[in-house]
């Protein structure tokens, strides 16, 4: 370590004021502070000791919470692949296919995003912020397994430049950056990110007879009047993958979908990590699940002939990306409501809107993405009302 420190100290003067690479100071600083926590001390006045936490550690905690989703997602890509082509594979083979499909997407996402971060930090002369550490992992997890890499690059660039840097960088953005990337692809290249893209078949491979890549959301939306969605789920894939959309399978995540979002169980493990470490707001997570379940129950009552409306409410919690969105997207502290009371409203409304969009707008089956983006925009309004209530309490007291 001493050698590394000496090397850094040796080249540091080149990056400081008057040095030949002065302009690159913040790029150097980002690498230096990544390797070594800085030696800065507290100011002469004010707190003399600081909490051991910093933004890097906080972001790293979120990434750790995503690891179960990532690992399961990798395995599931291989699992779905073998199911679709009618063969069996070992655990290792399944994993390997997942790694081959996923790793390039992760590399492209981080490469493009961090590259832009460094460029902006250098031009704007501010330190490189850690926000992209999380975003860079979130983007691959919400992509289809065989998304073209250039699309990942374009989406990431769009999200970071328009979604974040245009507003002033980490902490200033209005909407969630990873979801901006996903929404960009969704509207710019709809054919590549909807329909039957969720299973990686492989070059030249042919699917087994009877194969369908329809997602549970699509199956539910297509259910005919008077039928039971649950029956449709249970009979789906009976010729090539019996029980693929059974409740148990949906909960465990052995179903086609975006790389990291299929498993509700893995998302719940992530949620546990976020809640125990206090990194993510439990109020938002519980709010989203509760809001979606409540809305599902309400639709059950009003359902009548409509099959999707009549689907048991708890199925809403395991199909699509609701769990992943609730745990990792909705809890983004920058774009969520920032008051504690506001977080309840924010979460519940996301859950309700997700189900509403799913059921009433089959053109956009993935309701959670749109619901979160919508509520990102309304989060400041929610906070406005909560803050106003605080101000009113103070004013009322004054007249007494």
């Amino acid at each position: 370590m001493k050698f590394l420190r000496k090397t850094l100290d040796g080249v540091k003067p080149n990056f400081e004021k008057g040095g030949k690479w002065e302009k690159m100071y913040f790029a150097f600083e980002a690498i230096e502070t990544f390797l070594f926590a800085p030696n800065t001390t507290t100011a002469a006045k004010g707190v003399q000791v600081r909490d051991a936490v910093d933004l890097k550690r906080l972001m790293m905690t979120v990434i750790i919470a995503m690891v179960p989703c990532l690992l399961f997602g990798m395995w599931n890509i291989g699992h779905q692949h073998f199911l679709a082509i009618g063969q069996t594979g070992t655990l290792g083979e399944k994993f390997w296919i997942g790694i081959v499909q996923t790793l390039p997407i992760i590399v492209v996402s981080y490469g493009v995003g961090l590259g832009i971060e460094f460029v902006f930090a250098t031009i704007r002369r501010h330190p490189v912020n850690e926000g992209f550490l999380v975003t860079g992992m979130l983007i691959p997890l919400v992509m289809p397994p065989d998304v073209p890499l250039w699309q990942v690059a374009v989406a990431t660039a769009f999200a970071v430049v328009i979604g974040k840097e245009a507003f002033g960088g980490t902490g200033m953005n209005v909407v969630n950056i990873a979801l901006t990337a996903r929404a960009f692809l969704y509207f710019a290249y709809p054919t590549d990110i909807s329909g039957e893209v969720w299973t990686y078949l492989g070059e030249g491979a042919t699917a087994v007879a009877g194969y369908s890549g329809a997602t549970p959301l699509a199956v539910a939306a297509a259910a005919a009047k008077g039928t039971q969605v649950v029956n449709e789920f249970n009979s789906f894939g009976s010729t090539w993958a019996p029980g693929i959309y059974s409740f148990q399978s949906l909960f465990l995540g052995t179903q086609p979908g975006s790389i990291g979002e299929t498993s509700t169980l893995m998302c719940l493990i992530g949620a546990l990590i976020l809640i125990v470490t206090g990194t993510g707001s439990w109020k938002i997570i519980v709010g989203v699940f509760g809001g979606a379940y409540g809305m599902g129950l309400l639709l059950n009552i009003l359902a009548g002939e409509n099959a999707f409306m009549a689907m048991p409410a708890y199925y809403h919690l395991v199909i699509g990306g609701l769990a992943f969105g609730a745990v990792f997207m909705a809890t983004d502290p920058v774009t969520a409501a920032q008051t504690e009371t506001g977080k309840w409203y924010y979460g519940i409304l996301i859950g309700m809107f997700t189900v509403l969009i799913r059921v009433f707008n089959p053109a956009y089956p993935e309701g959670i993405m749109l619901a979160i983006l919508l509520m990102n925009v309304f989060a400041p309004l929610i906070d406005y009302f909560v803050v106003s209530a605080n101000k009113t309490r103070r004013l009322k007291r004054a007249t007494v």
Binding site: A37, N39, Q48, D51, A52, N390, R394
Partner: protein, 455 residues
């Protein structure tokens, strides 16, 4: 009977180096310093002594240009050796070389029954000319009390929950009659009540429990329960237009002594604390003492930070510095000027305390362990990202994040509406400690307070 208030929010920072309840035997410090910068809202302080003058305890040293009646007086007798000025000749400090035996200026003495019938004007005059007035702090803004104002209440915090704080029952032992006399005098200054706020769990000193004529309120909870601003918020909150005064128990005792004995007695016990002090214990000295004598042969290592006050609100003064006017505590911790390899992610070692439980921060598993913390910032300043943390360490109905953002936006109406009148730096000090983005919360708050005060 006062109220009983239970606070659940807050955080106790458990540090190594608590002062043992005994008084060290060392000779008196050589120099004493009074710094006008310890007082907020002091307009252009003017020195009334020059180098070479001899002074007694209670001789005026300086006063504000717009308040010649409020004197800031010498804590000891001796010779003025330095009048230190900064840019534009701003008065920074006045240093006195102390005599071995402290001589006092004689003010008028009263008996207990005379005090009861004293007119308010006479009380104020005696307090202002002797120097004890400086102990009165006015809210909003935390400035020197304005003599023409009549506060709606006077609040006294009878306990200190800050890290390694001195034990008040030890600090003020045997001062019962002076504290009572001080309360009797202060009662004349307010239209409302004098509140003495005590903690239910600490050893209760008779000084506070036997007091008559004051409302005694009980508090339960962690730091910042001992901050008088938090107590005011729960007992009788400050609204726009209200004026409230606060004073610490030592100030009350000084007021009592002034009227019963006719002297400005600036003697005090100081707790010398912190992990780098060999023998943490109490020392008998006077306000503004040089810390040199307390630290000689008493440090575990040389690379230390010497803090007047506690680690949350204190100031770094150096090994040859002097204690601040309001401080009865000296804290010495290791300086944190080192690089740590991958320090942002390595799991917690024994010196990492955190309110958070993010990856590798395990201090929450051992809440009663005593930590050795240094002055390293553990990270760099960033934009506000994490939310909902400040709220967990501020037991007040105030939204700290929104208040701070309104200050950064210099929006005075918003600051007022969000409750800037109710807080000063110490109330939000824990927010600064737990801040993931490492903002200087107390500095931002003071800027906001000054902005509102001068508007």
């Amino acid at each position: 009977m006062g109220k009983h208030i239970r606070l659940s929010k807050g955080f106790d920072i458990n540090l190594a180096g608590k002062a043992a309840p005994k008084i060290a035997d060392v000779e008196l410090a050589e120099t004493f310093v009074i710094k006008p910068t310890d007082f907020h809202g002091l307009y252009m302080p003017k020195a009334v002594v020059k180098e070479g003058d001899t002074v007694n305890a209670g001789t005026p040293l300086f006063h504000a240009k717009n308040h010649e009646d409020i004197q800031f007086t010498s804590p000891v007798s001796g010779e003025v050796v330095e009048v230190k000025r900064g840019e534009k000749r701003k008065l920074l400090e006045i240093k006195i070389l102390a005599d071995r035996q402290v001589e006092h200026v004689n003010f008028k003495k009263y008996t207990v029954s005379e005090v009861a019938s004293l007119p308010v004007a006479e009380v104020k005059e005696q307090m202002m000319k002797s120097g004890v007035w400086a102990n009165l702090v006015q809210r909003p803004f935390g400035v020197v009390a304005e003599p023409t104002a009549t506060p709606k209440a006077i609040h006294i915090s009878g306990f200190d929950t800050a890290p390694l704080a001195p034990d008040y029952s030890f600090l003020f032992k045997g001062q019962d009659q002076f504290f009572q006399a001080g309360i009797d005098v202060l009662k004349k200054l307010t239209s409302g009540a004098v509140h003495v706020n005590i903690h239910t769990q600490s050893d209760l000193s008779t000084v506070f429990s036997q007091v008559k004529g004051a409302e005694v309120n009980k508090f339960t909870g962690k730091h910042p329960a001992g901050c008088v601003g938090v107590q005011i918020h729960h007992v009788d909150p400050i609204n726009k237009g209200d004026v409230v005064w606060t004073i610490n128990p030592l100030g009350v005792i000084q007021v009592g002594k002034l009227f019963l004995q006719g002297i400005y007695d600036a003697s005090r016990l100081v707790a010398v604390t912190g992990s780098e002090v060999k023998n943490p214990q109490y020392y008998r000295t006077y306000t503004g003492a040089s810390v040199k004598k307390f630290l000689s042969n008493n440090l575990n290592q040389e690379n230390v930070r010497v803090i007047s006050g506690n680690v949350l609100t204190g100031s770094s003064i150096g090994k040859e510095g002097h204690l601040g006017f309001f401080d009865s505590q000296l804290t010495v911790i290791p300086e944190g000027d080192y690089h740590e390899f991958l320090g942002w992610i390595t799991p917690s070692n024994k010196n990492k305390l955190s309110f958070h439980r993010a990856f590798g921060l395990l201090s929450f598993l051992a809440p009663s362990k005593e930590y050795v913390l240094d002055s390293n910032t553990h990270g760099e300043e960033r934009a506000f990202v994490q939310t909902g943390v400040f709220e967990q360490v501020l037991p007040m109905d105030v939204l700290p994040t929104h208040l701070l953002k309104s200050i950064l936006a210099e929006d005075i109406d918003e600051m007022e509406a969000l409750g800037i009148y109710e807080v000063i730096e110490e109330d939000l000090a824990l927010c600064e400690f737990v801040d993931v983005s490492k903002h200087n919360v107390q500095e931002i708050l003071r800027d906001g307070i000054e902005l509102v005060r001068n508007s």
